[in-house]
Symmetry: C2
Subunit: 488 residues, 2 copies
């Protein structure tokens, strides 16, 4: 695992904005001042520095291994898509055309045809699928790419959450029957749930999107929805049932066992670096970043506390501790004489390192060390012989605590509205508002118009409550329970 | 590990070109007809299908783990570089300007400034390094990216070897002193050597480039050079000592322990998907691909041989074998009734699967299976109880055999020329021609002019032979032993 001492560059820059009162400014400060990311000379694109790219590597590795166990295979397609090809499926391109970056020149030549920098790869991949799939024996074809995509946001860019280039997985699968295609949904969503819950310590609401919020051309979109600390909702990983929409547009057909031509059924699914933004926004506080231990590049920082007289003695003791911790954790030690311990405490709190170990003269005599937790700030004096065990327990406890806190926030900010008046009242408080709905696009559109709320999804675990309920807007018989929220 | 049965799509297309007589056509046929890669709708860019992307994942994982052990940390920088920034270092941009793809439009807007799709990331990374590095405590900074880069080749594109988009690592490191910077060279080159030799089964010549072949602005370029079966040389992974060239252009400076400003010393290093082309060209034959077992997505294919009468019995036996092999190897079984065993043999030979297991009625009775090697075509009848052990030995033996064969080819095609006449004579035979050289650019340029040969590098292991030798061109005292070759 990568280890290293943090850079001095962030010296003297603290977090001045408050999470509660100025979320946007706070969010930017914690990301930049902690050295987690940096801006670049390209507007709207960020630099993933060591700590943030480490998070993405952890997500990628976890998801990729599980994808492969379910039979997904990785491939790589070109980043450029010829304009003609991108325009082949109308509904699809309409969703992206305003955001496409175009290559028009190479060297000193003008290109004959513009090339899109991929906003997503359906069109170029399915042109190949059409050639590759001939017989039922070629199915299922379950391919995935880990790559970079570009969507030229013209709105105010926000690190991770709204960037012009981001990293993601794009899974594109093809099956002989609708049943087989549908059977892929749960295993894939469960992989995403695992990485969100057990690695990023993030809760989510799992459900199906309403038809008007479904991916253009798809039969159904299933999503994991987040609630930001600001009370706004943000969509997380998703899985789309595309049916035969693309297979008919791109002629992806096969001869079935009886020798008859059929079109394949397709799905797509993705998780992106946007999740990293949700993760840091959710857990961090007014002192800076708070990182879940499983995805923290440095899990433990050792701060020796010494005077000129006992410097060597303390450093020797601290080094011994470092050596013994290194086998179990990702550890660094900061023995920079030019900064005070107090300054260092602030610094590593800002960087979100989960555990700090302090050792001074008195600890040597007692054979102890002080263990401080980043999440709740608590401190305990630990016998050195028990340090590895205690740190392991503490990291586990922090990981759990972050999830529990985030989940409590999500739960306490999910309000069930029984009347349209309540719904409007709750709208100003932020969070999810759970209502019964008749299923009509027009009711959904009117709710949006009148309240500014948008539907996020129809939570799986709430659908049993629809029995006997009426639509919150038109009072017809309700068919679904839907979450509404202000969207990010 | 990913497992799966190959697609039917390549049915009935064989390899018609010969490696010896029509290398270029043969090379394309083995890549396309085996389903290893495919062309796309973007000229000059290829689709990495499952088997080829698996090779890249293997290279990446091996190199990345070792990089991290030496302290290299991964980051991710934007793919776009503003034109002004790209032009900041003159010598550098001159090397790439003819090959840059430019984004000029986004959505329906024209951009104010053209954005280069990164041909390499020095300029955008070093603009950040200039901000990040302040003190000697920030050094060394050893960052790496795994990403995609675009270089718009206008010559005839060739899969892997000359493509408009390729994947690579780009390491960019900064140190306080030249000595520390130089100490990075051997560990990095050894990582590349390990993956070439032990995974890709590729030999190479390790050495320093001559000044005229050194990366623009660099103090020294060190390379691992390959010899293609066509007798032409191709540069593999490299490591550049950039000195203070970039740090002065981008003002990457730090305060040393005495509080004085100094410029950092920098290195860069890379391995790219080009290596995959060298690997398949080197090992493959007129039947198709030959893949080194360590990087073969499927290592073993089981072909059951049956009639209508004994079909169930044979398939049951073959399935049992498959189950027992799966724990140790990446295995597939082809029980497609519509193709004959003979057709399947050809098919999987074309795909380069290292080991084929054949089982028929007679094998069941004897408790045996036939093991066939892809590299030399030999077959042996093996007791089923010994199959896992024998396959493990065979895969190891194939891995070694491929390297030994390639190395023998490289050695027998390296000719030492003592006179300029010999050098010219050898030039027509292809391969490396090793000569003594005075070190002057003009001798090197004239050799190139008069023979069409280019210097590849000055092999480390040949430098002891320079003592007492004279330059092959001017007869002055020789300072170096240099390899020359026709370059790809």
């Amino acid at each position: 695992m990568a280890k290293g001492s943090p850079s001095n560059e962030v010296k003297k820059i603290g977090i001045t904005a408050k999470k509660e009162s100025d979320f946007s400014e706070w969010y930017t400060q914690i990301l930049i001042n902690s050295g987690f990311i940096d801006y670049s000379d390209v507007s709207g694109a960020i630099v993933f520095k060591q700590d943030s790219y480490f998070v993405w590597e952890g997500i990628q590795k976890t998801v990729d291994e599980l994808f492969k166990k379910t039979g997904v295979q990785n491939v790589y397609f070109p980043i450029f898509i010829p304009e003609k090809l991108l325009n082949k499926e109308k509904e699809h391109i309409e969703g992206f055309s305003a955001e496409v970056a175009w290559v028009t020149e190479a060297g000193s030549s003008k290109l004959d045809e513009r090339l899109a920098v991929r906003p997503t790869s359906e069109t170029i991949m399915y042109a190949s699928y059409s050639k590759w799939i001939r017989s039922w024996r070629d199915l299922p074809l379950r391919l995935n790419q880990w790559n970079n995509v570009v969507r030229w946001e013209f709105k105010h860019p926000v690190p991770f959450l709204r960037t012009r280039e981001f990293l993601w997985n794009e899974g594109h699968t093809a099956f002989a029957t609708k049943e087989e295609a549908d059977a892929e949904r749960d295993p894939i969503l469960e992989i995403y749930e695992h990485v969100l819950k057990d690695y990023m310590a993030l809760p989510y609401v799992k459900g199906k999107k309403t038809p008007s919020e479904t991916f253009p051309g798809a039969l159904g979109t299933y999503s994991l929805e987040h609630l930001l600390p600001s009370g706004k909702a943000l969509q997380g990983p998703d899985w789309h049932s595309d049916g035969q929409n693309f297979s008919k547009a791109f002629d992806i057909s096969f001869l079935n066992k009886d020798g008859n031509k059929e079109y394949v059924y397709q799905n797509t699914f993705a998780i992106s670096t946007r999740e990293i933004g949700v993760m840091v926004a959710t857990h961090s506080d007014n002192k800076g970043l708070v990182l879940p231990p499983k995805l923290a590049r440095i899990q433990v920082v050792i701060i020796p506390i010494y005077t000129n007289e006992n410097r060597d003695q303390v450093l020797e003791y601290a080094s011994k501790i470092k050596w013994s911790l290194q086998a179990d954790f990702r550890v660094t030690m900061d023995d920079d004489d030019s900064n005070s311990p107090g300054w260092k405490f602030n610094q590593y709190e800002m960087k979100g390192i989960p555990v700090r170990i302090e050792v001074g003269k008195r600890d040597i005599e007692a054979g102890k060390a002080v263990l401080a937790r980043r999440d709740d700030g608590s401190k305990a004096s630990i016998n050195v012989g028990e340090l590895n065990k205690k740190i392991a327990e503490t990291l586990e406890s922090i990981q759990k605590n972050l999830y529990d806190k985030a989940n409590a926030f999500l739960e306490s900010n999910t309000r069930v509205a029984s009347t349209y008046e309540d719904m409007k009242k709750y709208a100003s408080q932020g969070g999810f508002i759970q209502v019964a709905w008749c299923g009509s696009d027009s009711c959904e559109a009117k709710i949006n118009e009148e309240t500014g709320l948008k539907s996020t999804n129809m939570p799986f675990d709430a659908q049993d409550k629809v029995v006997g309920r009426k639509c919150i807007h038109c009072s017809d018989i309700a068919k679904h329970i839907v979450n509404f929220a202000k969207s990010y």
